[in-house]
């Protein structure tokens, strides 16, 4: 059952809302847990055992680390500072062992389902290069749904409990619900335990406001996916499959359309996820913040898939850059070239680790690694040249807050993003390179108009896409100006309010790209 299935938002969700609200407050979280089991089962059946094992492992590890902390507190009572330090280090080592073993246990599942085939492929290639007989058999396993997302959530819980950021959870079912909660299961966001626990386990009632706001958000998500993403899908599919038959501008248009499709599909899913949780009074963190208003790549990644970026920042970037080894290397650079250069170097090492993992997280393939390193290089160059650009602007008296200057930076960022997404969507790294080559060497507008109108989209489709994008743009501008659209709408007269709801529902039904001639987009991030 996908979030975009009629059965989800017209049967599963309404049925659950009724049962959930009829039951006592204490039972409510258990109903969510049962619903999540059913939801998981529709995707991955008995692979549910793996999420049970993951949740059990982090639950037990949390309790063990808490026990070690208690023992430590008893042991250091009445000791001198130096003695305290020694005892603390001893207990910290014990906790570290629990942390590492449990993290590896969880990563092992992820590796087995997602990366084993990829690494076997690399070993086979190496064996071939060195003329060694033997070939590792590559078997593709069907992974439990959402494994890439819930594993990161599980690891965040482990590390946070290790650092005593919050107390561990004593109720196993709460940990299980945290990992398996049906709205966030398939495509995230990657939540943190302390962020969601206040609303996830309290059994809040569905109010008139939470019901209306939740379904408004779901409708907005459906609009993005069904009216825009599904409409662009055929064009994108043809371009990325038969790119050798098209000229540069058409391929580049394919990359732009794919970026729009990806944003509408992923952010549309997030609207449904956040809206679904909101109905039950559960607050889920936002995963997008108007990414196409970013002035540089670094800012883009703080607005796009926010929870993944923050996960990498908190659990990879800072720990790597501030690790003893990196500090040792950079201390000499600091003496010679100053703090800015040393932190640039520190950051570069950590960024390399972040983008290697970010690329691999998106998929086991060379094109994903390339996608990661492409952004690593762009962010690194941005960091290196930023002070120089600031100086030049200062000298030339260019106001960096000027609208035109900002607009140029936004357009530049978008162009770089389109290129990155081209490699991301390409069937292989070789296809991506070939497509880029054609964009540069075959840049002719001959046959452009004909191709644009014969690849699954007609004039009517372009009008619908343009008007829909203008609608999304207006909403985005309002959000950027911190205007809460749903709050503003809720204060309008009932006639205006319901006219808006009906307009949105009708536009999805009338302008939705479904039926003959359209192929709906598969949930892209569910495969990661």
């Amino acid at each position: 059952m996908s979030y975009f299935d009629v059965i989800y938002f017209l049967a599963f969700l309404p049925g659950l809302i009724i049962i959930y609200n009829l039951l006592p407050k204490k039972i409510k979280p258990f109903i969510l847990l049962l619903a999540s089991f059913a939801f998981f089962f529709t995707y991955s059946k008995w692979l549910i055992i793996f999420i049970l094992l993951s949740s059990l492992s982090i639950y037990l590890a949390g309790l063990t680390m808490q026990k070690i902390d208690k023992e430590k507190k008893d042991a250091i009572k009445d000791l001198e500072i130096e003695e305290k330090k020694i005892i603390k280090a001893k207990y910290l080592n014990k906790k570290k062992i629990v942390l590492i073993i449990t993290a590896l246990f969880n990563i092992a599942f992820l590796f087995y389902f997602k990366y084993l085939g990829f690494f076997k492929g690399i070993i086979n290639s190496l064996l071939k290069i060195f003329n060694i007989n033997g070939n590792l058999k590559i078997i593709h396993h069907l992974a439990p749904i959402g494994i890439s997302f819930y594993t990161l959530s599980a690891i965040s819980y482990l590390i946070d409990v290790y650092h005593e950021k919050y107390e561990c959870e004593n109720n196993y079912f709460k940990i299980l619900l945290y990992l398996i909660f049906f709205p966030t299961l398939v495509e995230g966001p990657i939540t943190r335990y302390n962020e969601v626990r206040d609303t996830l386990f309290t059994g809040n009632k569905t109010t008139y406001k939470s019901f209306c706001f939740g379904y408004q958000r779901i409708l907005y998500g459906l609009f993005k996916k069904i009216v825009i993403a599904d409409r662009l899908n055929i064009f994108v599919k043809i371009i990325f499959t038969d790119y050798m038959h098209f000229s540069g501008p058409i391929i580049f248009l394919g990359a732009i359309f794919y970026t729009i499709l990806l944003y509408m599909e992923f952010s549309g899913t997030m609207d449904i996820v956040i809206g679904s949780a909101e109905i039950f009074g559960i607050i889920i963190p936002e995963n997008f913040k108007q990414p196409f208003f970013s002035k540089n790549i670094s800012e883009f990644w703080s607005r796009w898939h926010i929870t993944l970026g923050l996960w990498f920042k908190d659990y990879i970037f800072y720990p790597v850059s501030l690790s003893k080894g990196v500090k040792k290397i950079t201390s000499k650079i600091k003496e010679l070239f100053g703090p800015r250069t040393s932190s640039l170097f520190m950051g570069a090492i950590a960024l390399f680790a972040v983008w290697s993992l970010n690329g691999l997280w998106h998929g086991a393939g060379y094109q994903f690694l390339f996608f990661g390193y492409y952004h690593f290089i762009l962010i690194l160059l941005g960091n290196i040249f930023e002070p120089l650009i600031v100086k030049i602007c200062h000298k030339l008296k260019i106001n960096r807050e000027n609208f035109l200057y900002k607009l140029i930076r936004i357009i530049k960022t978008c162009l770089l993003i389109f290129i990155g997404e081209l490699f991301f969507r390409a069937n292989s790294l070789t296809s991506g390179i070939e497509m880029m080559k054609r964009i540069i060497t075959n840049f002719t507008f001959k046959g452009f108009n004909h191709a644009v109108l014969t690849l699954g989209l007609d004039i009517k489709d372009y009008i619908i896409i343009t008007l829909s994008l203008i609608f999304i743009l207006v909403i985005s501008i309002l959000k950027e100006k911190n205007i809460e659209v749903r709050e503003s709408l809720s204060k309008k007269h009932i006639v205006i309010r319901w006219a808006c709801y009906y307009a949105l529902i009708l536009s999805i039904i009338v302008f939705g790209a479904y039926g003959e001639g359209y192929v709906p987009v598969e949930p892209i991030y569910a495969d990661f």
Binding site: D160, H163, E164, K165, S298, E299, K313, D314, F317, Y318, P319, S321, L322, K327, T330, K334, P339, R340, S342, S343, L344, M346, G347, N383
Partner: protein, 75 residues
């Protein structure tokens, strides 16, 4: 506190550190500047900032950074 303001001004002189309450959220301190800042704080105040403390809330104003340093000195 004066020493901290001095360090911050060296890293980014165009900010009013006495009054600014959104150093991270307002993007006055990016990840790299925070790395420089941490390195300077550790050298000048003899504390080690654990990664778990690197959250926007601890770095959003000079007062909050100072509170973090004081807390770490006491531990």
């Amino acid at each position: 506190m004066e020493k901290l303001i001095e360090i911050l001004e060296e890293l980014n002189p165009d900010v009013d550190y006495e009054n600014c309450e959104n150093l991270v959220d307002g993007r006055y301190l990016d990840s790299l500047t925070i790395l420089s800042l941490i390195s300077e704080i550790e050298d000048n105040f003899g504390v080690v900032i654990p990664t778990v403390e690197i959250i926007p809330d601890n770095f959003n104003s000079a007062k909050k950074i100072w509170a973090l340093i004081t807390k770490l000195e006491e531990e």
